[in-house]
């Protein structure tokens, strides 16, 4: 697998699996306006992932590969998303805590990717920054509301943070693929943004009376296809119809 392809695929998969989880809320949100807002976020992320997968398909160097074959006909070990985004939605606090970490990471990352030498990626990044700025504003305001709202909402948000923080480190995981991307101007050194991410996210949680777990052991592996057991079920559902009719066009 060439590094450029793999780099784009990691970005695409992270969004695809993230949006797949978010869409599980559609029609079941805590109230109508929020249902619409979260669905809107899911739409943005799915739209971005579709464009990234189209781009990845071209970079794959393989014949008969499209965004749909990548999304629907790869197995668990071939998906390169972080473990964070495949975690189940849980309650609304878990969904928000997960999303705020992803949103702020994406905001920093895609801001940098606007400068990518890969023009397709740079174009997608420019669109993404506009969207994610709004997403982060939305999810971070919910962290504040949960943290400072009621005792119950604070407890739920704290439980979510305790559960999910250990998956946040993988957002900054790099290996030779990121290195290749960085050296060729396709990607950036994401670790240059790590301090800013940590500082902003820590401040957000602390100001909302939420404590970041001190002794979390950071999980990784997702970006190389080693996932939690949750991903298999997510894909089984997502891919079931497409896989039942491999010849079909929809």
């Amino acid at each position: 697998m060439n590094h450029h392809y793999k780099f784009i695929l990691r970005l695409a998969d992270n969004g695809l699996i993230n949006s797949q989880r978010l869409t599980e809320w559609t029609g079941h949100g805590p109230f109508l306006e929020e249902d619409l807002a979260l669905t809107n976020i899911a739409l943005d992320i799915l739209g971005r992932s579709k464009m990234l997968l189209e781009h990845a398909a071209k970079l794959s160097g393989l014949e008969n590969v499209s965004e749909d074959t990548l999304a629907y006909f790869r197995n668990e070990r071939e998906f390169l998303n972080t473990k964070l985004v495949e975690q189940p939605n849980g309650d609304y606090a878990q969904t928000i805590v997960k999303q705020v970490m992803v949103d702020y990471f994406d905001l920093l990352h895609y801001t940098e990717l606007c400068k990518s030498s890969d023009e397709v990626l740079a174009g997608i990044a420019a669109k993404t920054v506009k969207e994610v700025t709004y997403h982060y504003r939305h999810t971070s305001s919910w962290v504040t509301r949960f943290g400072l709202g009621t005792e119950e909402s604070n407890q739920r948000a704290q439980a979510a943070l305790n559960e999910l923080w250990r998956f946040s480190g993988e957002l900054f995981f790099t290996d030779e693929t990121e290195k290749f991307a960085e050296e060729n101007g396709i990607g950036v050194n994401i670790n240059a943004s790590k301090d800013k991410w940590t500082k902003t996210i820590t401040t957000l949680f602390e100001e909302a009376n939420l404590k970041i777990p001190a002794d979390a052991f950071m999980q990784d592996g997702g970006k190389n296809g080693l996932h939690t057991e949750h991903l298999g079920y997510l894909l089984a559902e997502m891919q079931s119809l497409a896989k039942a009719h491999p010849e079909a066009k929809w």
Binding site: P30, F31, L43, R145, L148, G149, S153, A242, W250
Partner: protein
């Protein structure tokens, strides 16, 4: 004698095809009728998110997933405009939701049928949205301003959904044999429930006299049903699908319209009264979402209150 004058003004506006606005005087039964109709319509949009939402996570291509997700979101948006229009008549969202959750309020019976295959999603877009538009087009010129304006926006989006549904159906009907079979099965199952959407036959329909006078309704159930059949039959033929089982569709040379079999009105009444295949599941889904969201809404309210107190103290 002041009331009498108000009534004259109201009647005068209706006669001149002018809009009634929230602050205008209106007869109590007009207000009640509208609250009932608009809130039922809003509930239909919200409950209507569920059968199609059932397929979002399994949509078979990224494009179809985006289209479906956007569509279901539009329905939620329609629900929002309509709840707001109903609120302008002096009811509250909580009251309306409570009526929905306790089963007191009605919503369109079509959403009590299950979406068993992907083709059902296409059939809903094509047939159900097609039928809904026929009902709704006349409501764009309804007498109550906020309702009319909401319907103008809704109709635009609905006709877009209808085209998307028909396009999805086309892909299935001209696709693999398995896809075509799926399309036929969906047409068979959704045909009669769609015909029921126009309501009972005119001879048995209550609420019609005032509804016509108030421009809340402009054509009768049977007229609209006939128009829907006339429009849909050529589409079925174009798709190369068989007429639905027992549909009795036949061109009538004398009337220059299609004859068709009546839906089973006993089934209709059963579905209306809570005994459809999915009534329980739909209400349960709405209740569960509302209940699970309770702490979220409470947190938002508590936080907003605290912010307000801070502002006042400053």
């Amino acid at each position: 004698m002041e009331t009498y004058n108000f009534e004259n003004i109201f009647e005068g506006k209706l006669a001149k095809n002018e809009m009634i606005e929230p602050k205008d005087w209106m007869p109590e039964n007009y207000r009640k009728h509208l609250i009932r109709q608009i809130s039922q319509h809003a509930h239909s949009e919200i409950v209507g998110m569920l059968p199609e939402g059932n397929w979002i996570t399994r949509a078979p291509s990224l494009r179809s997933k985006l289209v479906l997700l956007a569509k279901v979101q539009d329905e939620g948006g329609h629900g929002l405009y309509l709840y707001t229009a109903a609120e302008s008549l002096g009811t509250s969202r909580d009251e309306m939701l409570d009526a929905l959750h306790t089963g007191k309020a009605k919503y369109s019976s079509i959403f009590n049928y299950p979406t068993l295959t992907w083709a059902d999603v296409a059939a809903i877009g094509w047939l159900v949205d097609g039928a809904a538009i026929m009902n709704q087009v006349m409501l764009q010129r309804t007498s109550y301003g906020p309702y009319s304006r909401a319907m103008i926006r809704i109709c635009k989006e609905e006709s877009f959904h209808q085209r998307q549904g028909y396009e999805a159906m086309t892909r299935l009907a001209f696709g693999t044999p398995a896809q075509k079979e799926m399309a036929q099965d969906a047409l068979n199952r959704f045909w009669f429930p769609t015909l029921m959407m126009f309501g009972p036959p005119d001879a048995e329909s209550p609420n019609s006299d005032n509804a016509v006078k108030w421009r809340i309704k402009r054509e009768t159930n049977d007229e609209l049903r006939q128009r829907f059949v006339n429009q849909t039959v050529p589409q079925i033929e174009y798709l190369g699908l068989d007429f639905p089982t027992n549909s009795g569709i036949k061109w009538n040379e004398t009337r220059k319209e299609y004859d068709f079999s009546e839906p089973n009105w006993v089934e209709f009444k059963n579905v209306i009264h809570g005994n459809g295949p999915c009534n329980k599941e739909r209400l349960q889904a709405r209740n569960t979402a509302h209940k699970n969201g309770e702490w979220v809404r409470a947190a938002a309210t508590a936080f907003a209150k605290r912010q307000e107190e801070k502002r006042e103290a400053a």
